[in-house]
């Protein structure tokens, strides 16, 4: 109960403080909307909020899903083969060094009008890197004794992978997934804001901007925060289920 109440009160105090600062400075809502402006803004577009929120959510999850599949595959081949690691690593680092914001207009043009595809693509491109790196490092740093224990019994390579290498990299994988989920969410929103006539919360944010509906923009920010928190905690729960063993109970 305390765990719920303390954060709850903290949020209330934060909102009151925000309201007070806006009122005290007499800021108009195009400079800074106050919390009391947000609810009407949300209520006016509540249907769009849910519809677009769903768009943003499923696109992020779809992009992340692709990133997990591709990232794990890439990490696997880089972790298990030294030659491929040396060959792919510079390419990967180079690709990751490109700020994805610059790729957004390119993809938006490339697949113009295909909002789902280009949004998912950006979410995927921005988020597979940490997953690939964590899996490859996890696999390539597996202590040789672990391998020897199974190998001396005549275990095949795939058996060693499933029984030892993969479970052993799970904590690193979930660490990376926490980063990736945030990145994918950024990717989705970047594309939704840039892509013309798009859908999703990013598009709603953009239409708030073009219509000078500032409270709507702030309301979208809050909506995004709630979605982002939900996504993050889904990963935390999955981590507890699949890699909870890595958490040492404090003695």
């Amino acid at each position: 109960m305390r765990q719920i109440l303390i954060p709850f009160y903290a949020i209330i105090i934060f909102l009151l403080f925000w309201e007070f600062v806006v009122w005290f400075n007499g800021w108009p809502n195009y400079k800074m909307a106050s919390p009391s402006d947000l609810w009407p803004a949300f209520w006016k577009f509540k249907k769009l909020f849910f519809q677009y929120g769903w768009d943003t959510l499923w696109r992020t999850v779809a992009g992340l899903f692709l990133a997990v599949i591709f990232g794990v595959f890439l990490g696997m081949i880089m972790g298990l083969s030294k030659i491929l690691r040396e060959a792919l690593y510079p390419l990967l680092v180079g690709f990751n060094a490109i700020p994805k914001a610059t790729v957004v207009p390119i993809i938006a043009l490339m697949f113009v009008g295909q909002h789902d595809l280009n949004t998912i693509l950006i979410a995927f491109m921005i988020s597979f890197f940490p997953i690939a790196v964590s899996i490859s490092i996890g696999l390539s740093t597996l202590e040789p004794e672990y391998r020897d224990i199974l190998r001396s019994l005549g275990a095949s390579k795939s058996m060693i992978f499933w029984k030892i290498a993969l479970p052993k990299t799970l904590p690193e994988f979930f660490g990376a997934l926490k980063v990736a989920v945030t990145l994918a969410f950024i990717g989705t929103n970047l594309m939704e804001i840039v892509s013309p006539h798009g859908r999703g919360l990013g598009a709603l944010f953009d239409s708030g901007k073009t219509n000078a509906d500032y409270p709507l923009m702030f309301a979208v920010l809050i909506g995004l925060a709630i979605l982002g928190i939900a996504l993050y905690y889904v990963v935390v729960v999955l981590e507890k289920i699949f890699a909870g063993w890595a958490e040492r109970s404090s003695e």
């Binding site: 202590e143 004794e145 672990y146 020897d148 224990i149 199974l150 190998r151 001396s152 019994l153 005549g154 275990a155 058996m159 029984k163 030892i164 479970p167 052993k168 799970l170 890699a243 063993w245 890595a246 040492r248 109970s249």
Partner: protein, 266 residues
């Protein structure tokens, strides 16, 4: 390919092994001959870095010798065999599995026709034997170093290996825990007969546990000296302080020094 010698469980016949490094060839084992009789237990001692761990890999089939042959129970070793059990200085338990599931791991790999219940019973009886009863469902991180090493010994024995290879399994433990585990080893040998080879740096450990101690020369290692240890029925730790034991220890110590000097001048 059966050898004609009947009673030897491990035969190492003129084995030579060389590592290829960036700076050239590094011969680690040269012309090594050694045998361990069935249900015998041989300790191998020698200077640090003289190739003892390489020897365990050659016996378990993880490495192939450049020259010479290794036979286990009369059959030439061409690759890893499930009749081998191994334990290392690092217990290498899988942290995501319970102790029981860790011990059962080899039974998931080695072909056998045990039912799931049989496998559990087998693992539980071994855990009971080493004094880990009641810890079956604990995770490795909840156990002390000595307890983890006990579990690691159980895992090495669970599939009834004919040959047990121990590579300094007690090296990282404190002195008292180590002595406890020596007693556990004696108990295991009585209840679960196996042919064993023990790599160690501890001369007291070697004479307390083994029937024969082989001293390897400095690198490249070859067998320099061998000492038969008269075995008591139920050895007590006190026996290590007997005049006979002290004589053996001095003798072995001298051989190690010779090997160290040889390695340093090589």
């Amino acid at each position: 390919m059966k050898s004609n010698v009947g009673n030897e469980a491990i035969i190492i016949d003129k084995v030579t092994h060389t590592y290829k490094t960036d700076t050239g060839l590094l011969p680690v084992i040269k012309n090594l001959n050694m045998t361990v009789p069935k249900n015998g237990f041989t300790a191998v001692v020698g200077p640090s870095g003289c190739g003892k761990s390489t020897l365990t890999k050659l016996i378990s089939g993880l490495l192939k010798p450049d020259n010479g042959e290794v036979y286990l129970n009369g059959e030439k070793v061409l690759g890893p065999k499930p009749i081998v059990g191994m334990a290392f200085q690092n217990p290498v338990l899988l942290e995501w599995r319970s102790i029981l599931k860790n011990v059962m791991l080899p039974l998931e790999i080695v072909p056998n026709d045990l039912s799931e219940v049989d496998k559990e019973d087998r693992a539980k009886s071994l855990l009971h034997l080493v004094g880990l009863e009641g810890f079956e469902e604990k995770k490795p991180s909840e156990l002390s170093g000595g307890m983890r090493q006990r579990a690691s010994l159980c895992r090495a024995l669970v599939h009834n290996p004919e040959v047990l290879i121990l590579d300094e399994p007690f090296g990282a433990l404190d002195a008292f825990t180590r002595e406890d585990l020596w007693q556990v080893m004696h108990k295991l040998r009585q209840e679960e007969p196996f042919t064993g080879i023990l790599i160690t740096h501890d001369l007291r450990e070697s004479i307390f546990l083994a029937d024969e101690v082989v001293v390897l020369s400095g690198r490249p290692a070859t067998s320099q000296y061998s000492l038969q240890i008269p075995k008591l029925k139920n050895p007590k730790l006190d026996s290590l302080f007997s005049p006979d034991s002290i004589e053996m220890l001095k003798n072995l110590r001298k051989q190690i020094e010779i090997a160290q000097v040889q390695q340093a001048t090589n």
